[in-house]
């Protein structure tokens, strides 16, 4: 004659196998607000029938393991980056329900800009923001939401606004933005407040299900451990006494009535238009050329080119990729900028392939071009055995340590200097590389200059440089 009215929501797993810990209980401390919020979210997902298409992004923080509990699609994101991951997931799967679950350290400190930009873009996601005024996971350090005078391990005398600023009110900040549709702050400190929290959680999810836009619920939540209260239930009084006066609960923004259901605007240009739009003169060709005529080690090169910032290593990479493209291969070019731009070594990754290239990152290179000494030292070890190592001996007074590779030394800088400008050194190397491997005919390289060379007046000089590099290799091969 009694019927079950409330039991563990179906959107939780039956149990929670993990490395250590009892698989029937969560890893949270007794009385932790995360558990309460989890239950409300799980219940809402079940009741609204959303679990099947929900993807939950777990943060870094005590709730890092949320994926052990929710029987939904789960992804765990780097600290503060859940809104960015949620953005990608939602845009790739517009029919999914995407939840970014985050603590206050995660959301308001390291991820402060992530959440602001996601809210400002009006991402179609739901954010559950657990504000417990502290970094729980790492042992109770001060968070951006830590209250004035609150003692934490990093504010042992209490937060002092003169030193540490005032606590950040996230709802107030975000509700000043145009795009967000629904923003509410709720609290878990007593039954009436929890009833409102349940309602807000449902509403936020419903907003997303109705495609109305960005929704966020901030949940004032207990951290009995971090707050060092005597017994877990004291954390509820703590919320009421300290958090509520500074973080008023309530609705900060609600445009759900007015907001039109959202549709991703498909103003993507047709693929055939892309080359024109981004100023690539070539058709977007399917790979159609073959390297069957090339000696095995020279086929499908994975190239690392490195040198000083001014040596034209990035443009040498662009040139090789462009020529590969002209020959009908799939190509990629990945520059590595960085402090190197101002003096160390700059480098780029280049691939030319008969096959579709999956990732442009070159790790085990088959060709290494070292234009200076630090580059040789840094990159020769990445070469596969039998790979091709081209060194600019004008700038490198040591021999490679690798003896299991093919070594092509060439005094490129000096040769370029004889042509009138040391900056042509990269084209000398290009000529040498093409002559050595036969990847594309020199004729194509000369044509290519008209495309990849920005300063057209230097075309004749660069042509000469390519030729000089090629001749150097021919003579060497002829045994001269």
């Amino acid at each position: 004659m009694y019927e079950k009215i409330l039991e563990k929501p179906r959107s939780f797993y039956d149990n929670y196998p993990r490395k250590d810990g009892d698989i029937t209980v969560t890893h949270y401390c007794p009385g932790c607000g995360h558990g309460i919020a989890h239950k409300m979210i799980a219940e809402a997902l079940s009741d609204l029938n959303l679990a099947e298409r929900t993807i939950l992004i777990s943060p870094v923080g005590c709730s890092v393991f949320a994926y052990y509990y929710f029987d939904v699609g789960n992804i765990q994101a780097a600290h503060g980056r859940a809104p960015a991951v949620a953005t990608g997931v939602k845009r790739a799967n517009p029919d999914s329900i995407v939840i970014s679950y985050q603590g206050d350290g995660d959301l308001a400190a390291i991820g402060g800009d992530e959440i602001m930009q996601a809210a400002n873009r009006g991402e179609q996601i739901t954010v559950f923001f657990i504000n417990n005024a502290i970094y729980g996971m790492t042992g109770g350090q001060m968070a951006p939401t830590t209250l004035v005078e609150q003692k934490t391990t990093t504010s042992p005398y209490g937060r002092n606004p003169h030193n540490e600023g005032f606590p950040i009110r996230v709802c107030e900040l975000l509700s000043s933005l145009e795009a967000p549709v629904y923003i509410e702050r709720v609290s878990l400190h007593n039954s009436a407040a929890r009833a409102k929290a349940r309602k807000a959680i449902r509403k936020a999810l419903q907003v997303q299900a109705d495609r109305k836009g960005f929704s966020l619920v901030e949940i004032l939540s207990g951290c009995p451990t971090g707050w060092k209260v005597k017994q877990p239930s004291d954390s509820l009084d703590w919320i009421e006494k300290y958090m509520l006066p500074y973080f008023p609960v309530g609705v900060f923004k609600d445009n759900t009535e007015k907001a039109e259901p959202f549709r991703y605007i498909e103003n993507v240009p047709p693929k055939s238009e892309l080359p024109k739009l981004i100023d690539i003169p070539m058709e977007d060709k399917v790979v159609q050329a073959s390297m069957a005529d090339l000696p095995g080690p020279y086929r499908n090169p994975r190239i690392k080119i490195a040198g000083f910032g001014g040596q034209g290593v990035l443009s040498l990479g662009v040139a090789i990729a462009q020529l590969g493209l002209m020959q009908g291969y799939d190509v990629s070019w990945l520059p590595s900028y960085g402090p190197e731009m101002r003096g160390g070594t700059a480098h780029c990754h280049v691939m030319v392939s008969e096959h579709i290239i999956g990732s442009p990152l070159v790790t085990a290179s088959t060709v290494c071009v070292a234009m200076n000494k630090p580059s040789l030292e840094k990159f020769e070890k990445e070469l596969v055995p039998g790979g091709l190592l081209i060194t600019n001996t004008s700038m490198i007074d040591i021999e490679p340590t690798r003896k299991d590779v093919e070594w092509l030394p060439i005094p490129a800088t000096e040769m370029a200097s004889e042509l009138g400008n040391i900056r042509f050194g990269n084209m000398v190397v290009l000529g040498a590389y093409l002559q050595k491997t036969g990847l594309v005919p020199l004729k194509v390289a000369f044509d290519g200059l008209h495309i990849f060379l920005k300063a057209k007046r230097f075309i004749p000089d660069n042509e000469k440089a390519i030729q000089v590099g090629a001749d150097y290799v021919s003579k060497k091969l002829a045994g001269k």
Binding site: E3, L6, D22, T26, P30, G31, A42, S191, A195
Partner: protein, 81 residues
Amino acid sequence: MTEEKIDRGKIEIDVDECKGCGLCIVACPVSVIEFSRDIINKQGYHPAQYKGSGCIGCGNCFYTCPEPGAITVYRLAKKQS
């Protein structure tokens, strides 16, 4: 047979899933949950337990309990006519 008042609700607390935080005890409007001083569960806590009568089936304890499956709430079924 018995003239005893029938409770509107009742709860079950899973001894081993309870972490003894006491939040449900504070939340119960009719104070029918208590710590079991004589039981230590497998996690090492004194779990909360139902006093056995007086529950009104309000659900407050359920919504304050951080453990997904520790509390189950029942309510007296309406008599079918």
